[in-house]
């Protein structure tokens, strides 16, 4: 046995051999699998030397070549428990690299870890601590807390600092450990002769989760801030303060001076940066230091002579923190630098500066800035180009286009952006075009113009990113065809051959728009020549046709004119168009372009283009093409007759004209934005028995289930629903007889669906489907038109911000006000820490008091208190209102104003309490009166 192990170790490849071997290989794979076989053999050896070398090699392969080593877990444990340090070290490295919390062999190492933690060899303890920091789970944390507690006050700095770092993990895994060891952790923070690096790091982490619990430790942190010479420690303590200061205004005031000192003194950029970041995140209320910080940002980070991209990036970053906090002046001061950075070599810097530029956008400069940016976008690479375009779109649309005054300009900007060859923001542009069209009535002619320019350009059709934009453009032109200068030209654009490049859904919109254009043209040509105000109000399309004859022609819908009128209104521009010689197909036509010939041509063109599509595979396309062709068929039958009696058309005589009338009415009904919550606000009409529905449904459902077929078609469901609604109207109560029969039947078949007694409790408050049109009408009433849009439209023609329809609520996507529920572990942890910090004060409370000292402090205290607004309540108070006053060093005093009556009775307690609080650090407190008693 001994012989074989000697042989083994003699011929074993060392780690060096393995690495050299690996370097010689062209393809590492074979070599690795061969070595792995060797390792698998060697690791089973009884000789610890051989085993540990095998493990060392395996660890190497694992960390560099991602070779799995979970299978070797048990061998890792074996090597860890070796008595020789050199082996133990290999074992521990392997463990911390390959174990995780759920590795099963962790159960086996608790005792080994305990032994090593207690070892007299500090390096062994160090190994165990390092390992624990990586793999410590709840069990290990619980079982080893006593050992770590001991090490926290070890005389050897080497293990003490490691124990401090490990305690963070222990706290997270096993919050109860706080009770035992928190005080020792604090001692590590304040002890004079030890390096607080580890402790401050731990507190920095702890603070990031629940800063409020650590407010009582502010004096200790303050002392470090003032005294420490170690930049790393200072940076960490600044991080702690940037968490604490927002919670306690007096603390913020206190740290202004020391931070200013550091900024003036330090030559270290990292410390400087941290100071600046602290100032801009939480000390912006203090003007002097803010000015200093901005000055330092400019001098140290944004200076040209020192062309360090790192500093540039960080400088821009802190500027954007300032920008987001209403200190835009700091950004504006550095405007030139920011704009220059837009063309930096580093994309990260470009992104930062873009963000800043967008921060600066306001009503006054939006045109200027976006003009520059659109130019910059054209020149930059596709990724950044889209970033620019995206942020332009986002900034301009923010808060319902708040920065936009001139919508004509903005809409044509959208058109320009769409034409950018790299633009991939089709979806957003589509949304905005439609949105603006719905909200801003005044800008519609311009949108239609922009849409036309996009639509007649055949080149754009081949760009897939354009399709969404084109869809919006097509919809807008179809919906507001009465604003179009030349419907025929538009029709040509809609039917151009290259539209076959479009995806079917977009194409369907094209055809639908063509339908609208067709109806408009035919109606303009054939429709009533006299000016009739068509009432287009809240009436459903079917009714409005009748209503147009019966009801008075002066209804609310005054603003909706007969398309003819609109067109003649827009005729001026059109004529000018022709004068300018921008001749289109219909340019030669006279004032009225709708001649027999032009209509006829158009019909032919549509038939040519859409004919083949009536056999399309895509249902949407096919259906809509069918609609259009159907209308044309109808019209062609009647057109000759109509044309004979030109001039005095009586719509009633011809079916086709009636249809046209209906369609035109339907299409000219204006769509408006609908608030998200509109439906909820629709009052339930009287007589509609929403609650009753369920029972109705039940009887009906029973009916359905009586039918033998196990599955029923969608059609039957629909039918049933209709049937149901009829029933609701006719008979308010189902006949009791049938119900009883049904229940009988169900009982027999064991069929229970909706139990009858749950009727009332079902909170089905939704209106049924056929309520929908009602809901929309209701929503229109709910539209809030600020500044009475109708009136103001006529008032002036000078440039001013047009009315943007805004719904009073439900406008923005609802911001989730729900806070992420806190991690329960965190809660336990911070709760435990609060108990320790505040609890140990009470313990000491009665023990000491120093009258002279307290007297002085009391005076100070009152002055500090004035004007202080009590902050949100503390956990301790909720739990234990009666003792909170005596328990809470700070909280109590804050409230002392409020509780004036109680004040005197607690004064005594306060004093002693404060004294007790400082017991653990009394040396510092008493020896250095320089450190002000700012929190106590």
């Amino acid at each position: 046995m001994a012989g074989s192990s000697i042989m083994e170790s003699f011929f074993q490849r060392s780690l060096d051999d393995l690495i050299k071997g690996l370097r010689l290989q062209v393809t590492e794979y074979n070599f690795i699998s061969k070595s792995l076989e060797e390792i698998k053999r060697e690791i089973k050896s009884t000789d610890i030397q051989t085993k540990s070398i095998a493990l060392e090699k395996l660890t190497y392969l694992n960390s560099i070549h991602s070779v799995d080593m979970i299978w070797a877990s048990f061998h890792v444990v074996e090597v860890m428990s070796s008595t020789k340090f050199i082996h133990k070290k290999i074992g521990y490295l392997a463990a911390s690299q390959s174990f995780n919390e759920s590795t099963d062999v962790i159960l086996l190492i608790t005792n080994q870890l305990r032994k090593d933690l207690n070892s007299s060899n500090q390096f062994e303890a160090g190994l165990a601590l390092e390992c624990l920091a990586v793999i410590g789970n709840t069990d290990l944390a619980r079982d080893l807390t006593p050992e770590i507690f001991t090490l926290l006050s070890s005389s050897k700095e080497f293990v003490r600092k490691k124990a401090v770092a490990v305690i963070l993990r222990v706290f997270n895994k096993y919050p109860d450990a706080v009770r035992v060891s928190f005080k020792r952790l604090v001692e590590n923070l304040e002890s004079v002769n030890s390096d607080p690096t580890a402790a401050i790091g731990v507190f920095c982490e702890l603070c990031s989760k629940d800063p409020r619990s650590y407010l009582p430790l502010a004096p200790e942190f303050y002392k470090i801030l003032v005294d420490s010479k170690n930049n790393w420690v200072l940076i960490k303590v600044l991080k702690v303060f940037s968490k604490l200061a927002p919670l306690e205004p007096r603390l913020a005031k206190r740290i202004v001076d020391p931070i200013g000192e550091h900024m003036k003194r330090t030559s270290s950029k990292s410390l400087m940066f941290e100071c600046i970041r602290t100032v801009v995140t939480c000390l912006t209320d203090y003007e002097v230091i803010l000015k200093l910080a901005v000055e330092k940002i400019r001098d140290c980070f944004l200076s040209d002579n020192d062309d360090d991209p790192n500093l540039k990036y960080l400088g821009l970053q802190v500027l954007s923190i300032l920008g987001s906090k209403q200190h835009l002046w700091a950004v504006v001061e550095n405007k030139e630098f920011v704009i220059k950075s837009l063309s930096d070599l580093d994309p990260n810097i470009k992104f930062e500066s873009l963000r800043l530029v967008m921060e600066m956008v306001s009503e006054g400069n939006v045109a200027e800035i976006t003009h520059y940016l659109v130019g910059a976008a054209l020149k930059s690479d596709p990724e950044f180009c889209n970033e620019i375009l995206g942020s332009i779109l986002m900034t301009c649309s923010r808060n319902v286009y708040k920065v936009i005054v001139d919508f004509d300009w903005y809409v044509s900007l959208l058109g320009d952006i769409s034409r950018n060859p790299h633009c991939q923001k089709g979806e957003e542009i589509e949304r905005q075009l439609v949105d603006i069209c719905l909200r801003v009535a005044e800008v519609r002619p311009e949108i239609v113009r922009v849409a036309r320019d996009l639509l007649i350009d055949p080149a754009l059709l081949s760009n897939p990113y354009m399709h969404r934009i084109l869809r919006a453009a097509v919809w807008v032109s179809g919906e507001h065809i009465e604003l179009s200068r030349n419907p025929f030209e538009l029709m040509e654009a809609l039917l151009q051959p290259r539209t076959n490049l479009l995806p079917p859904l977009v194409r369907a919109v094209y055809i639908q728009s063509a339908f609208k254009v067709l109806v408009f043209c035919l109606y303009s040509y054939l429709g009533p020549k006299e000016v009739i105000l068509t009432p287009v109000g809240d009436l459903a399309p079917e009714e409005s046709a009748e209503a147009s004859e019966q009801e008075a022609s002066f209804s609310e819908g005054d603003e909706y004119f007969d398309p003819r009128m609109k067109r003649s209104g827009a005729g001026h521009t059109w004529d000018r168009n022709i004068d300018n010689g921008q001749a289109s197909s219909s340019a030669s036509l006279e004032n009225d372009p709708f001649t027999h010939e032009s209509i006829f041509n158009m019909l032919n063109m549509i038939k040519m283009a859409l004919g083949p599509l009536s056999g399309s595979d895509e249902v949407e396309v096919q259906e809509r093409a069918g609609n259009v062709l159907g209308l044309i068929d109808l019209m062609e039958q009647e057109l000759p007759g109509l044309l004979v009696r030109e001039g005095s058309l009586r719509g009633e005589e011809f079916q086709g004209v009636k249809v046209l009338d209906l369609l035109q009415n339907a299409f000219s009904k204006e769509l408006g934005p609908v608030s998200l919550s509109a439906q909820q606000r629709v009052p339930v009409p009287e007589g509609l028995l929403l609650k009753e529905n369920l029972s109705e449904l039940e009887t009906v459902c029973g009916d359905i289930n009586l039918t033998p077929s196990s599955s029923f078609s969608l059609g039957s469901v629909l039918f049933v629903e209709r049937h149901n609604s009829q029933q609701t109207e006719k008979e308010s109560e189902p006949s009791s007889e049938s119900t009883s029969l049904l229940s009988e039947h169900r009982k027999r078949h064991g069929l229970y669906y909706l139990s009858a007694d749950k009727n009332g409790s079902g909170s089905n408050d939704y209106p049924p489907v056929n309520e929908l049109s009602n809901a929309i009408d209701g929503a229109q009433d709910l539209l809030r038109l600020p500044g009475q849009s109708v009136d103001s439209k006529k008032k002036s023609t000078t440039k001013r911000r047009p009315v943007v329809v805004r719904l009073d609520d439900g406008e923005e996507a609802p911001v989730s006000g729900v806070q992420k529920p806190k991690d329960s572990k965190d809660d336990i942890l911070s709760g435990a820490i609060r108990n320790i910090l505040l609890g140990d004060e009470t313990k000491h409370m009665s023990s000491q008091s120093n009258p002279s000292n307290t007297e002085k402090r009391n005076g100070k205290e009152v002055s500090l208190d004035t004007g202080h607004v009590p902050q949100s309540k503390d956990m301790g108070e909720i739990e234990n209102p009666s003792t909170s006053i005596s328990q809470h060093g700070n909280e109590r005093r804050r409230r002392s104003k409020k509780k004036d009556g109680e004040e005197s009775s607690h004064k005594e307690k306060q004093k002693s309490h404060r004294q007790g609080r400082s017991k653990t650090r009394q040396t510092a407190e008493i020896q250095s009166p320089v450190i002000p008693d700012f929190l106590l």
């Binding site: 060096d16 690495i19 060392e56 190497y60 694992n62 960390s63 560099i64 991602s66 070779v67 799995d68 340090f85 050199i86 070290k89 290999i90 490295l93 995780n100 919390e101 390096f123 160090g126 601590l129 390092e130 920091a133 990586v134 080497f158 600092k161 490691k162 401090v164 770092a165 490990v166 963070l168 993990r169 390096d195 690096t197 580890a198 790091g201 731990v202 920095c204 982490e205 990031s208 170690n230 930049n231 790393w232 940076i235 991080k239 950029k269 990292s270 940066f273 941290e274 970041r277 991209p309 790192n310 540039k312 990036y313 960080l314 070599l345 580093d346 994309p347 990260n348 810097i349």
Partner: protein, 143 residues
């Protein structure tokens, strides 16, 4: 946890040292290393040394053929991490004398050991070069 991982990668993109302070499976590690290395190595000298990746901020620095990459939490001080990297390199330099990629390859465990002295649980605990090297020197003497 301030520091989440430390990587040393040569300019061919081969990992020379990987130290993680949170548990990731081998596949996750490999994927993460691949993505980050690709991102950082593509950058030029004129670009800044900070890259955001997933929820990490990666701070890197190049020394000759070797890249040092440190992944940190989002609110860590970037410049301080750069100084930390420099300290690490100086420490290794003091131990190996003119440290190069090969030193780290062949003495990976020592490099790990130094790191363990400097960082525990993602917190920097020691910034003094002599203190960091003390245990290693003792070990070298003993063997």
């Amino acid at each position: 946890m301030g520091i989440r991982f430390i990587l040393m990668v040569n300019k061919q993109g081969q990992t020379r040292l990987a130290q993680y302070y949170e548990y990731l499976t081998i596949e996750q590690r490999r994927a993460l290393e691949g993505e980050i290395v690709r991102k950082c190595l593509a950058r030029t000298e004129q670009q800044c040394s900070f890259v955001e990746h997933r929820n990490y901020k990666v701070i890197y620095r190049r020394y000759a053929s070797l890249f040092f990459l440190v992944g940190v939490d989002n609110d860590e001080n970037e410049l301080a991490i750069l100084e930390f990297i420099h300290l690490l390199v100086e420490t290794m330099d003091r131990h190996f004398g003119n440290v190069c990629e090969l030193d780290i390859m062949f003495h990976l465990e020592k490099a790990h050991f130094m790191l363990e002295e400097m960082v525990i649980n993602g917190c920097i605990v020691e910034t003094n070069k002599s203190n960091i090297l003390m245990p290693i020197q003792l070990m070298d003497k003993a063997s």
